[in-house]
Protein backbone atom coordinates (compact mmCIF):
# COMPACT_ATOMS: atom_id res chain seq x y z
CA UNK A 1 0.00 0.00 0.00
CA UNK A 2 2.80 2.34 0.96
CA UNK A 3 4.46 1.77 -2.39
CA UNK A 4 1.24 2.53 -4.19
CA UNK A 5 0.95 5.87 -2.45
CA UNK A 6 4.58 6.61 -3.17
CA UNK A 7 4.04 5.93 -6.85
CA UNK A 8 1.05 8.21 -6.99
CA UNK A 9 2.86 10.97 -5.15
CA UNK A 10 6.01 10.77 -7.26
CA UNK A 11 4.09 10.74 -10.53
CA UNK A 12 1.85 13.58 -9.45
CA UNK A 13 4.73 15.74 -8.36
CA UNK A 14 6.69 15.05 -11.49
CA UNK A 15 3.76 15.73 -13.77
CA UNK A 16 2.79 18.95 -12.06
CA UNK A 17 6.38 20.17 -12.03
CA UNK A 18 6.66 19.34 -15.70
CA UNK A 19 3.38 21.07 -16.49
CA UNK A 20 4.34 24.13 -14.50
CA UNK A 21 7.73 24.52 -16.12
CA UNK A 22 6.32 24.07 -19.59
CA UNK A 23 3.48 26.49 -19.01
CA UNK A 24 5.93 29.11 -17.81
CA UNK A 25 8.28 28.62 -20.74
CA UNK A 26 5.42 28.58 -23.23
CA UNK A 27 4.06 31.81 -21.77
CA UNK A 28 7.38 33.59 -21.83
CA UNK A 29 8.37 32.52 -25.33
CA UNK A 30 5.02 32.93 -27.05
CA UNK A 31 5.53 36.47 -28.16
CA UNK A 32 9.01 35.82 -29.45
CA UNK A 33 7.81 32.78 -31.35
CA UNK A 34 5.08 34.76 -33.06
CA UNK A 35 7.60 37.38 -34.09
CA UNK A 36 9.89 34.68 -35.39
CA UNK A 37 7.12 33.18 -37.44
CA UNK A 38 6.25 36.54 -38.93
CA UNK A 39 9.80 37.51 -39.67
CA UNK A 40 11.22 34.26 -40.80
CA UNK A 41 8.34 32.50 -42.49
CA UNK A 42 5.95 35.03 -43.92
CA UNK A 43 8.48 37.87 -43.91
CA UNK A 44 10.76 36.55 -46.67
CA UNK A 45 7.81 35.55 -48.82
CA UNK A 46 6.15 38.93 -48.38
CA UNK A 47 9.38 40.79 -49.02
CA UNK A 48 9.99 38.73 -52.14
CA UNK A 49 6.59 39.72 -53.45
CA UNK A 50 6.80 43.39 -52.48
CA UNK A 51 10.41 44.03 -53.35
CA UNK A 52 9.78 47.65 -54.30
CA UNK A 53 7.51 48.58 -51.40
CA UNK A 54 8.03 52.05 -49.98
CA UNK A 55 6.86 51.00 -46.53
CA UNK A 56 7.59 47.95 -44.35
CA UNK A 57 4.85 45.46 -45.22
CA UNK A 58 5.66 43.19 -42.27
CA UNK A 59 5.13 46.00 -39.84
CA UNK A 60 2.05 47.49 -41.51
CA UNK A 61 -0.54 44.86 -40.90
CA UNK A 62 -4.06 44.42 -39.69
CA UNK A 63 -6.14 41.42 -38.95
CA UNK A 64 -9.71 40.50 -39.76
CA UNK A 65 -11.77 37.87 -38.08
CA UNK A 66 -12.89 35.48 -40.82
CA UNK A 67 -15.46 32.99 -39.59
CA UNK A 68 -13.65 32.46 -36.33
CA UNK A 69 -10.04 32.47 -37.58
CA UNK A 70 -7.85 35.49 -37.36
CA UNK A 71 -6.28 36.37 -40.70
CA UNK A 72 -3.29 38.71 -40.87
CA UNK A 73 -3.18 41.08 -43.81
CA UNK A 74 0.03 42.87 -44.76
CA UNK A 75 -0.13 46.16 -46.53
CA UNK A 76 2.42 47.43 -49.02
CA UNK A 77 2.62 50.61 -51.04
CA UNK A 78 4.14 50.43 -54.49
CA UNK A 79 3.96 53.34 -56.91
CA UNK A 80 1.22 54.83 -54.78
CA UNK A 81 -0.95 51.75 -55.14
CA UNK A 82 -2.02 49.71 -52.14
CA UNK A 83 -1.35 46.03 -52.13
CA UNK A 84 -2.30 43.45 -49.57
CA UNK A 85 -0.89 40.04 -48.86
CA UNK A 86 -2.13 37.16 -46.69
CA UNK A 87 -1.41 33.48 -46.20
CA UNK A 88 -3.45 30.48 -47.27
CA UNK A 89 -2.52 26.85 -47.63
CA UNK A 90 -3.12 23.85 -49.89
CA UNK A 91 -2.70 20.13 -49.39
CA UNK A 92 0.66 19.06 -50.79
CA UNK A 93 2.51 15.78 -51.15
CA UNK A 94 4.13 15.94 -47.72
CA UNK A 95 1.57 18.07 -45.85
CA UNK A 96 0.24 21.59 -46.08
CA UNK A 97 1.94 24.03 -48.40
CA UNK A 98 1.69 27.61 -47.09
CA UNK A 99 1.36 30.35 -49.67
CA UNK A 100 1.42 34.12 -49.27
CA UNK A 101 -0.63 35.74 -52.01
CA UNK A 102 -0.07 39.39 -52.81
CA UNK A 103 -3.04 41.17 -54.42
CA UNK A 104 -3.17 44.50 -56.14
CA UNK A 105 -6.33 45.99 -54.66
CA UNK A 106 -6.85 48.39 -57.53
CA UNK A 107 -6.97 45.73 -60.25
CA UNK A 108 -7.89 42.61 -58.26
CA UNK A 109 -5.05 40.78 -59.94
CA UNK A 110 -2.36 38.72 -58.24
CA UNK A 111 0.76 40.80 -57.78
CA UNK A 112 2.91 37.89 -56.73
CA UNK A 113 2.99 34.74 -54.62
CA UNK A 114 5.55 33.20 -52.31
CA UNK A 115 5.66 29.76 -50.66
CA UNK A 116 6.20 29.94 -46.91
CA UNK A 117 6.20 26.55 -45.22
CA UNK A 118 6.20 23.18 -46.89
CA UNK A 119 7.51 19.65 -46.44
CA UNK A 120 7.70 18.66 -50.10
CA UNK A 121 10.37 16.42 -51.59
CA UNK A 122 13.70 18.16 -51.89
CA UNK A 123 14.56 18.74 -55.52
CA UNK A 124 11.04 18.11 -56.84
CA UNK A 125 8.23 19.74 -54.87
CA UNK A 126 10.58 22.05 -53.04
CA UNK A 127 11.07 23.86 -56.34
CA UNK A 128 7.75 25.57 -55.71
CA UNK A 129 9.65 27.63 -53.16
CA UNK A 130 13.10 27.65 -54.72
CA UNK A 131 12.32 28.15 -58.38
CA UNK A 132 11.35 31.80 -58.98
CA UNK A 133 10.06 30.92 -62.44
CA UNK A 134 7.22 28.92 -60.96
CA UNK A 135 6.05 31.72 -58.66
CA UNK A 136 6.42 34.29 -61.43
CA UNK A 137 3.70 32.57 -63.45
CA UNK A 138 1.09 33.79 -60.97
CA UNK A 139 1.82 37.51 -61.42
CA UNK A 140 -0.99 39.23 -63.27
CA UNK A 141 -3.42 36.33 -62.98
CA UNK A 142 -6.96 37.43 -62.14
CA UNK A 143 -7.68 36.52 -58.54
CA UNK A 144 -11.31 35.73 -59.34
CA UNK A 145 -10.65 33.27 -62.14
CA UNK A 146 -10.04 29.61 -61.57
CA UNK A 147 -6.36 29.09 -60.99
CA UNK A 148 -5.48 25.60 -62.14
CA UNK A 149 -2.52 23.56 -63.21
CA UNK A 150 -2.36 23.51 -66.98
CA UNK A 151 -4.08 26.85 -67.46
CA UNK A 152 -2.78 29.38 -66.60
CA UNK A 153 -0.09 27.71 -64.48
CA UNK A 154 2.39 25.14 -65.81
CA UNK A 155 3.16 22.39 -63.32
CA UNK A 156 6.62 21.81 -61.90
CA UNK A 157 8.02 18.80 -63.68
CA UNK A 158 7.76 15.76 -61.46
CA UNK A 159 5.75 17.57 -58.81
CA UNK A 160 2.15 17.69 -59.96
CA UNK A 161 0.73 17.39 -56.46
CA UNK A 162 2.77 20.30 -55.12
CA UNK A 163 1.75 22.44 -58.10
CA UNK A 164 -1.87 21.55 -57.45
CA UNK A 165 -1.46 22.50 -53.80
CA UNK A 166 -0.08 25.93 -54.66
CA UNK A 167 -2.87 26.55 -57.16
CA UNK A 168 -5.57 25.51 -54.75
CA UNK A 169 -4.07 27.80 -52.10
CA UNK A 170 -4.20 30.66 -54.60
CA UNK A 171 -7.81 29.81 -55.46
CA UNK A 172 -8.67 29.83 -51.74
CA UNK A 173 -7.05 33.22 -51.44
CA UNK A 174 -9.29 34.47 -54.23
CA UNK A 175 -12.38 33.25 -52.39
CA UNK A 176 -11.31 34.81 -49.10
CA UNK A 177 -10.46 38.06 -50.84
CA UNK A 178 -13.85 38.21 -52.52
CA UNK A 179 -15.60 37.47 -49.24
CA UNK A 180 -13.72 39.98 -47.12
CA UNK A 181 -13.23 42.73 -49.68
CA UNK A 182 -15.48 45.34 -47.97
CA UNK A 183 -13.76 44.87 -44.62
CA UNK A 184 -10.34 44.97 -46.24
CA UNK A 185 -11.11 48.22 -47.98
CA UNK A 186 -12.30 49.73 -44.74
CA UNK A 187 -9.14 48.71 -42.91
CA UNK A 188 -6.96 49.94 -45.77
CA UNK A 189 -8.17 53.50 -45.24
CA UNK A 190 -6.05 53.60 -42.12
CA UNK A 191 -2.87 53.07 -44.11
CA UNK A 192 -3.57 55.69 -46.78
Amino acid sequence: MGEMIKMVIVLTILSSLSGGVLAYVKESTQERIEMQVLQLVKGPAIMSIFKDATNDPVADRFSIDDEGTNLDFFVAKIDGKQMIAFETSGKGYGGDVGLVVGIDTSTDKIFGVGVTTHSETAGLGSKAKDDPKFAAQFAGVDIKGPIQVGDPINALSGATITSDAVCSAATDAGEIYARLKPQIEKELQAFK
Binding site: L11, S18, L22, T29, Q36
Partner: protein
Amino acid sequence: MAKSITHEFMKGLWEEVPPFRLVLGLCPTLGVTTKMQFGIGMGLATTFVLVCANILVSMLRKVVPAKVRIACFIIIIATFVTLVELLMQAFAYPLFLQLGIFIPLIVVNCIVLGRAEAFASKNGLMLSIADGLGIGIGFTMSLAALGALREILGAGTITLWEGIELVNLVNLFPGFQPFQFMVQAPGAFICLGIMLCFMNMVGNR
Protein backbone atom coordinates in the same frame (compact mmCIF):
# COMPACT_ATOMS: atom_id res chain seq x y z
CA MET B 1 35.41 -2.13 -12.37
CA ALA B 2 35.76 1.37 -11.19
CA LYS B 3 33.96 3.67 -13.53
CA SER B 4 35.85 6.81 -14.39
CA ILE B 5 34.15 9.91 -15.64
CA THR B 6 36.57 10.16 -18.54
CA HIS B 7 35.83 6.62 -19.62
CA GLU B 8 32.07 7.15 -19.53
CA PHE B 9 32.51 10.29 -21.58
CA MET B 10 34.91 8.83 -24.13
CA LYS B 11 33.00 5.64 -24.83
CA GLY B 12 30.21 7.61 -26.49
CA LEU B 13 32.64 9.12 -28.93
CA TRP B 14 33.83 5.89 -30.50
CA GLU B 15 33.14 2.61 -28.73
CA GLU B 16 29.42 3.12 -28.38
CA VAL B 17 28.73 5.89 -30.85
CA PRO B 18 24.97 5.52 -31.19
CA PRO B 19 23.96 5.24 -34.86
CA PHE B 20 27.05 3.39 -36.04
CA ARG B 21 27.98 1.11 -33.17
CA LEU B 22 24.73 0.64 -31.29
CA VAL B 23 22.69 1.21 -34.47
CA LEU B 24 20.20 3.18 -32.38
CA GLY B 25 18.30 6.34 -33.10
CA LEU B 26 18.14 5.67 -36.82
CA CYS B 27 14.92 7.60 -37.40
CA PRO B 28 16.46 11.07 -36.95
CA THR B 29 19.74 9.79 -38.36
CA LEU B 30 18.07 9.03 -41.66
CA GLY B 31 15.47 11.76 -41.51
CA VAL B 32 17.28 15.00 -40.83
CA THR B 33 20.73 14.56 -42.30
CA THR B 34 20.07 16.21 -45.63
CA LYS B 35 22.47 18.97 -44.55
CA MET B 36 25.28 18.98 -42.04
CA GLN B 37 23.69 21.89 -40.18
CA PHE B 38 20.50 19.92 -39.59
CA GLY B 39 22.52 17.02 -38.30
CA ILE B 40 24.35 19.31 -35.87
CA GLY B 41 21.12 21.00 -34.78
CA MET B 42 19.38 17.72 -34.21
CA GLY B 43 22.40 16.34 -32.41
CA LEU B 44 22.63 19.36 -30.10
CA ALA B 45 18.92 19.21 -29.29
CA THR B 46 19.24 15.51 -28.50
CA THR B 47 22.35 16.12 -26.43
CA PHE B 48 20.55 18.76 -24.40
CA VAL B 49 17.64 16.43 -23.70
CA LEU B 50 20.00 13.54 -23.02
CA VAL B 51 22.13 15.42 -20.48
CA CYS B 52 19.16 17.04 -18.74
CA ALA B 53 17.22 13.81 -18.60
CA ASN B 54 20.28 11.94 -17.33
CA ILE B 55 20.79 14.53 -14.58
CA LEU B 56 17.22 14.38 -13.41
CA VAL B 57 16.90 10.62 -13.69
CA SER B 58 20.16 10.12 -11.85
CA MET B 59 19.11 12.51 -9.09
CA LEU B 60 15.70 10.95 -8.71
CA ARG B 61 16.85 7.35 -9.07
CA LYS B 62 16.44 6.64 -5.36
CA VAL B 63 13.03 8.31 -5.17
CA VAL B 64 11.31 6.85 -8.21
CA PRO B 65 9.56 3.52 -7.53
CA ALA B 66 10.71 0.75 -9.85
CA LYS B 67 7.24 -0.02 -11.14
CA VAL B 68 6.60 3.41 -12.59
CA ARG B 69 10.15 4.27 -13.53
CA ILE B 70 9.54 4.15 -17.27
CA ALA B 71 6.54 6.46 -16.91
CA CYS B 72 8.65 8.86 -14.86
CA PHE B 73 11.47 8.76 -17.38
CA ILE B 74 9.04 9.52 -20.16
CA ILE B 75 7.60 12.48 -18.26
CA ILE B 76 11.07 13.84 -17.63
CA ILE B 77 12.19 13.32 -21.22
CA ALA B 78 8.98 14.70 -22.69
CA THR B 79 9.30 17.82 -20.56
CA PHE B 80 12.78 18.50 -21.82
CA VAL B 81 11.83 17.77 -25.40
CA THR B 82 8.94 20.20 -25.27
CA LEU B 83 11.27 22.69 -23.66
CA VAL B 84 13.75 22.28 -26.49
CA GLU B 85 10.98 22.62 -29.02
CA LEU B 86 9.75 25.88 -27.55
CA LEU B 87 13.22 27.30 -27.17
CA MET B 88 14.09 26.33 -30.69
CA GLN B 89 10.99 28.02 -32.02
CA ALA B 90 11.89 31.14 -30.12
CA PHE B 91 15.59 31.32 -30.88
CA ALA B 92 16.35 29.11 -33.88
CA TYR B 93 13.15 29.14 -35.83
CA PRO B 94 14.55 28.28 -39.30
CA LEU B 95 16.25 25.21 -37.89
CA PHE B 96 13.04 24.23 -36.15
CA LEU B 97 11.18 24.50 -39.45
CA GLN B 98 13.66 22.18 -41.11
CA LEU B 99 13.83 19.61 -38.34
CA GLY B 100 10.05 19.73 -37.95
CA ILE B 101 8.52 16.59 -36.54
CA PHE B 102 11.89 15.10 -35.60
CA ILE B 103 12.23 17.42 -32.58
CA PRO B 104 9.07 16.14 -30.80
CA LEU B 105 10.12 12.66 -31.84
CA ILE B 106 13.19 12.87 -29.60
CA VAL B 107 10.81 11.65 -26.88
CA VAL B 108 10.71 8.23 -28.44
CA ASN B 109 14.36 8.21 -29.45
CA CYS B 110 15.65 4.98 -28.00
CA ILE B 111 19.02 6.51 -27.22
CA VAL B 112 17.52 8.92 -24.70
CA LEU B 113 15.27 6.41 -22.99
CA GLY B 114 17.98 3.80 -23.32
CA ARG B 115 20.59 5.88 -21.48
CA ALA B 116 18.09 6.85 -18.79
CA GLU B 117 17.11 3.24 -18.21
CA ALA B 118 20.46 1.57 -18.72
CA PHE B 119 22.81 4.11 -17.23
CA ALA B 120 21.43 7.12 -15.39
CA SER B 121 19.01 5.15 -13.24
CA LYS B 122 21.90 3.06 -11.95
CA ASN B 123 24.73 5.58 -11.63
CA GLY B 124 25.65 8.75 -9.84
CA LEU B 125 25.18 12.31 -11.03
CA MET B 126 28.62 13.04 -12.44
CA LEU B 127 28.90 9.74 -14.23
CA SER B 128 25.46 10.23 -15.75
CA ILE B 129 26.34 13.70 -16.97
CA ALA B 130 29.52 12.37 -18.52
CA ASP B 131 27.62 9.50 -20.13
CA GLY B 132 24.89 11.76 -21.51
CA LEU B 133 27.40 14.26 -22.79
CA GLY B 134 29.58 11.62 -24.40
CA ILE B 135 26.75 9.80 -26.09
CA GLY B 136 25.17 13.09 -27.12
CA ILE B 137 28.34 14.43 -28.65
CA GLY B 138 28.95 11.12 -30.36
CA PHE B 139 25.44 11.26 -31.78
CA THR B 140 25.98 14.84 -32.90
CA MET B 141 29.25 13.95 -34.57
CA SER B 142 27.71 10.98 -36.34
CA LEU B 143 24.80 13.03 -37.62
CA ALA B 144 27.14 15.79 -38.67
CA ALA B 145 29.36 13.34 -40.50
CA LEU B 146 26.44 11.68 -42.26
CA GLY B 147 24.95 15.08 -43.01
CA ALA B 148 28.25 16.32 -44.41
CA LEU B 149 28.60 13.25 -46.62
CA ARG B 150 25.07 13.51 -47.96
CA GLU B 151 25.28 17.25 -48.41
CA ILE B 152 28.59 17.26 -50.25
CA LEU B 153 27.36 14.53 -52.59
CA GLY B 154 23.78 15.63 -52.93
CA ALA B 155 24.10 19.39 -52.97
CA GLY B 156 27.81 20.08 -53.37
CA THR B 157 28.06 22.07 -50.16
CA ILE B 158 28.87 21.56 -46.50
CA THR B 159 26.91 23.92 -44.28
CA LEU B 160 28.14 24.18 -40.71
CA TRP B 161 25.39 26.56 -39.61
CA GLU B 162 22.81 28.72 -41.32
CA GLY B 163 24.82 30.85 -43.73
CA ILE B 164 28.23 29.37 -42.91
CA GLU B 165 29.28 27.17 -45.80
CA LEU B 166 32.56 25.35 -45.28
CA VAL B 167 32.76 24.02 -48.81
CA ASN B 168 30.82 24.91 -51.89
CA LEU B 169 31.72 22.77 -54.87
CA VAL B 170 29.21 24.53 -57.08
CA ASN B 171 31.18 27.74 -56.66
CA LEU B 172 34.55 26.01 -56.88
CA PHE B 173 33.75 24.08 -60.03
CA PRO B 174 31.09 25.86 -62.04
CA GLY B 175 30.22 22.70 -63.97
CA PHE B 176 29.56 20.65 -60.84
CA GLN B 177 26.24 18.85 -60.87
CA PRO B 178 25.28 17.57 -57.43
CA PHE B 179 24.14 13.98 -57.04
CA GLN B 180 20.71 14.88 -55.72
CA PHE B 181 19.77 11.29 -54.99
CA MET B 182 21.88 11.44 -51.86
CA VAL B 183 19.77 14.10 -50.15
CA GLN B 184 16.62 12.04 -50.69
CA ALA B 185 15.38 9.28 -48.46
CA PRO B 186 16.90 6.26 -50.27
CA GLY B 187 20.21 8.11 -50.43
CA ALA B 188 20.14 8.30 -46.63
CA PHE B 189 20.05 4.52 -46.39
CA ILE B 190 22.85 4.10 -48.87
CA CYS B 191 25.05 6.68 -47.14
CA LEU B 192 24.36 5.14 -43.74
CA GLY B 193 25.18 1.72 -45.18
CA ILE B 194 28.46 2.98 -46.60
CA MET B 195 29.40 4.63 -43.30
CA LEU B 196 28.48 1.50 -41.31
CA CYS B 197 30.62 -0.52 -43.70
CA PHE B 198 33.61 1.75 -43.12
CA MET B 199 33.08 1.85 -39.36
CA ASN B 200 33.07 -1.94 -39.28
CA MET B 201 36.11 -2.15 -41.52
CA VAL B 202 38.04 0.25 -39.29
CA GLY B 203 36.64 -1.29 -36.11
CA ASN B 204 37.52 -4.85 -37.08
CA ARG B 205 41.17 -4.09 -37.70
